[in-house]
């Protein structure tokens, strides 16, 4: 009898999969850094009451235009308000308006883009020409018109009309990009199958097409947060966005900041840096996300 053949005790271990987060950090280190910056801003915005050393609305004429010091690390403005605290609270304003404007604009744009691609024909033609018209307006001009038309409508301290005004110029840009992606999805067999099964247009669009344009949606959503923050700052600077005394970065650059920028350059330096950092972080994060999600960039 043949002796028993001893087999080596081989254990086939499945290759350990890295978590997507770690994968992203390794593949996109700049994206990871920008993600951390965004998280810091989010944290500061959400927990502003804890993080900020002073009440951002608290006037202290005794400390007017104070230079950066241990007491006021970013100095004070012409009302003696602590700039560091206002920058932190400003993150809340910027992120709230940026997030909701981008979410609203991208969602509406994606829906229009997918529907336009799905229906095709005359509907697509009319929708695209309408989008062409809206795209012909510069983004700031369009937002200015919408703000001027709608006025202000504050709900829970947030100007809903401002969010709407910033979202409107985002809609056609997203619609155009998403339509391009949706056009190829429309030709997929599973869409034909869904049609053949008699599903409603709404079900096909929202259940079968929209999830498949999630990647470009996510990328644009992130990128447009940056644009929305910049637009909010621009509108506030022009006096059409957030109103005093609400802490907002754009607003901090306007008003009497222009009168005191020689005497107190910190009045414009720190809000300006905050805007730049936020926009840079969101743009970088959006780019990294695109590179990471898009298979073409992985080749």
């Amino acid at each position: 009898m043949a002796g028993a053949v001893s087999q080596p005790n081989v254990v086939y271990k499945a290759r350990k999969r890295r978590s997507p987060l770690v994968d992203f950090c390794i593949a996109q280190p700049l994206g990871a850094v920008s993600g951390v910056a965004i998280l810091v801003m989010l944290f500061a915005g959400i927990f502003a009451e804890i993080v900020a050393p002073y009440d951002p609305l608290n006037i202290d004429f005794g400390a007017m235009l104070a230079a950066p010091s241990p007491e006021h690390v970013m100095g004070t403005d012409a009302f003696g308000r602590d700039i560091f605290s206002r920058v932190i609270y400003g993150a809340r304003t910027a992120l709230t308006i940026g997030f909701f404007s981008s979410l609203f604009g991208c969602t509406l744009g994606a829906t229009i883009g997918v529907a336009s691609a799905y229906f095709g024909g005359r509907i697509d033609m009319v929708v695209q020409r309408f989008i062409d018209v809206i795209l012909s307006f510069p983004i700031i001009v369009l937002a200015l018109v919408v703000v001027a038309m709608l006025g202000r409508n504050q709900i829970a301290g947030v100007d809903v009309n401002l969010i709407f005004a910033i979202a409107i110029p985002i809609v056609p840009k997203v619609a155009r990009v998403v339509r391009a992606a949706a056009l190829s999805i429309r030709e997929m067999p599973y869409i034909d199958a869904a049609r053949a099964a008699g599903f409603s247009h709404a079900r096909i669009i929202f259940r079968h097409m929209v999830p498949n344009v999630a990647a470009p949606f996510l990328i644009m959503f992130t990128a447009f947060i940056a644009q929305a923050i910049l637009l909010e700052a621009s509108l506030s600077f022009l006096g059409l966005g957030v109103t005093e005394p609400t802490p907002a970065w754009g607003l901090m650059l306007s008003g009497n900041a222009s009168d005191f920028y020689r005497e107190a350059p910190w009045m414009i330096l720190f809000p300006g840096l905050a805007i730049s950092a936020a926009v840079f972080a969101f743009n970088l994060f959006g780019d990294s996300l695109r590179d990471w999600l898009d298979p073409k960039f992985k080749v």
């Binding site: 608290n58 006037i59 004429f61 007017m64 009302f79 504050q154 009497n256």
Partner: protein, 533 residues
């Protein structure tokens, strides 16, 4: 005119106009006027309509004064004396019951028709007794006029119901533009939308959101004037843009006023190419409570909000960054009928012990059942001084636990909102052109007598005190009556003064003939302005 009162007014002029003039020569010392050129100037707000009778914003005067004439004008070189405009001569009866004016024989409207006594009568009838649908913010001012007679086309006689020591100054009010009788007969509201005056400039164009322009009226009744070929008033609500335009030469002046910080910035850059003139200002910001809305119908709530404001601290802080300067009562601080500062310190809301004042304010709010009061502050979107004032009072009210949403609007919706009563609390203004108490206190009269009282309060006691002080010719007695009126106004707090303004005007050094005064309403017909090329 009462000589005692004249002395008071002279003293007022001295304290108002004589403070801190920088690099300014009187108009008569600037050399012989030269003809020609177009003056470009900034207007920091756009008028909501063209009718000065129904307006109390400078935006209407800076827009339209060059197109219109008034019976008399203030002589800014000898302020507050009056001088001729359409009326080349006038007589005042010793009992102050009759005023007779002779009109300039060569005065014509811009359509070529002569200005007659019928036009003056129609104008003043419209102001003192406005037809249905016409708003006159001058109604209370001219209610002492009994009849207006026109014995001939160039003579007009005003007969009074009662003597009013300030009547002659009221005839020099810059708001009393003389309109054409035939136009008013056709449509009493026509001046709101169309311009037909007899001023030194013909109306050119009004491009909304951009500018107003005018060209020289060759048929102007004052010989040799105006000197300019024309003017262009550019609407600039953003101070940064205005300062850049002034610095870059796109505009040569801004006649309302800029902040000390703006002055410093421009003077530092432009040196002797810019002229900066300063004066105290017959203008104050007020907090007005809509007494038709709850809880502002409750005097405890109004008083609490009045008490919470540290005017002394605000005056010190805001004086550096805004056009605000002085804490004061209903009459301009330093003027003859104003409350003395030591007395003002004892008045609740004007003292230095803010801890006690705020404790009392919190108690009043608790007692009124609104310890966590929330409301919207209606404000104008002008950077100076409305925005800083808004920021300031929001902070002050937060210190007694009141949560305020600060909402700023363009001049037109801002005024419309206040006039229609569509607001909770607003930052209003009292825009005066002289230190005459009857003028300053008129805004506090009952709403049915003074539509410019945006609190919409009706208070018979205040009306009674107003009439009594207006009739009183003994200054000491009048002073006491004014104090009683002021006490009642501050106790009831329908509307309360916030801070008085300080005027700084910047003009390019080549702009001549314009005269500084304590009021930005005066001297804006531009008839004497010329450019030293």
């Amino acid at each position: 005119m009462d000589s005692n009162r004249r002395d008071f007014m002279k003293a007022a002029a001295f304290t108002a106009a004589g403070i801190g003039l920088l690099d300014a020569l009187p108009a008569h010392a600037q050399g012989a006027p030269k003809r020609g050129g177009t003056l470009n100037f900034a207007i920091s707000a756009e008028t909501p309509h063209y009718d000065a009778h129904g307006s109390d914003t400078f935006a209407t005067l800076h827009f339209g004064s060059p197109f219109h004439s008034t019976l008399l004008q203030f002589d800014l070189a000898n302020y507050p004396k009056v001088k001729a405009d359409l009326a080349v001569s006038w007589e005042v009866a010793g009992d102050l019951m009759t005023y007779t004016f002779k009109l300039a024989p060569n005065a014509n409207f811009h359509d070529g028709s002569p200005v007659t006594s019928a036009d003056v009568k129609a104008t003043y009838d419209r102001m003192r007794n406005p037809p249905t649908g016409v708003v006159s913010t001058r109604k209370a001012t001219f209610e002492d006029i009994d009849t207006i007679e026109t014995p001939d086309p160039k003579t007009v006689v005003f007969k009074m119901k009662a003597p009013n020591p300030a009547m002659l100054e009221h005839f020099a009010s810059p708001w009393n533009w003389i309109y054409k009788a035939s136009i008013l007969a056709g449509n009493p509201n026509a001046p709101r939308t169309a311009i037909m005056g007899s001023g030194p400039f013909r109306f050119g164009e009004h491009v909304k959101g951009s500018h107003v322009s005018g060209t020289r009226f060759d048929g102007y009744f004052k010989s040799g004037q105006p000197y300019l070929d024309g003017f262009r008033g550019v609407f600039m609500t953003q101070p940064a843009a205005m300062m850049n335009a002034l610095q870059g030469g796109q505009v040569q002046a801004e006649f309302r006023g800029v902040s000390p910080a703006e002055r410093d910035r421009i003077v530092q850059v432009m040196g002797n190419r810019i002229r900066a003139e300063e004066s105290s200002w017959t203008l104050n910001l007020m907090i007005v409570f809509n007494t038709e809305k709850k809880p502002f119908d409750d005097v405890r709530v109004r008083r609490a909000l009045h008490l919470a404001i540290d005017r002394r601290g605000g005056a010190v802080g805001l004086a550096r960054t805004a056009t605000l300067r002085d804490a004061g009562g209903l009459i301009r601080p330093g003027s003859p009928f104003a409350m003395k500062d030591e007395d003002l310190l004892k008045v609740p809301g004007f003292g230095r012990d803010m801890n006690a004042a705020r404790a009392e304010a919190r108690r009043l709010l608790r007692e009124a059942g609104v310890p966590n009061l929330t409301f919207v502050l209606h404000n104008r979107n002008l950077a100076q001084p409305y925005t800083p004032a808004g920021i300031f009072v929001v902070d002050q009210w937060r210190q007694i636990g009141v949560n305020v949403e600060h909402r700023q609007s363009e001049t037109s919706p801002y005024l419309a909102g206040m006039s229609s009563g569509n607001f909770d609390v607003a930052i209003d203004f009292s825009n005066l052109f002289m230190d005459e108490p009857s003028l300053a206190l008129a805004k506090y009269l009952s709403f049915n007598r003074a539509p410019e009282n945006r609190s919409r309060a009706i208070d018979a006691e205040m009306d009674r005190l107003y009439a009594a002080q207006a009739r009183e010719r003994d200054d000491k007695k009048r002073f006491e009556l004014i104090r009683a009126f002021e006490k009642r106004a501050l106790d009831q707090a329908y509307q309360v003064p916030l801070l008085w303004w300080h005027r700084i005007v910047l003009t390019h050094a080549n702009v001549m003939g314009w005269q500084m005064s304590p009021s930005h309403n005066l001297g804006q017909d531009l008839s004497g302005v010329w450019l030293n090329a």
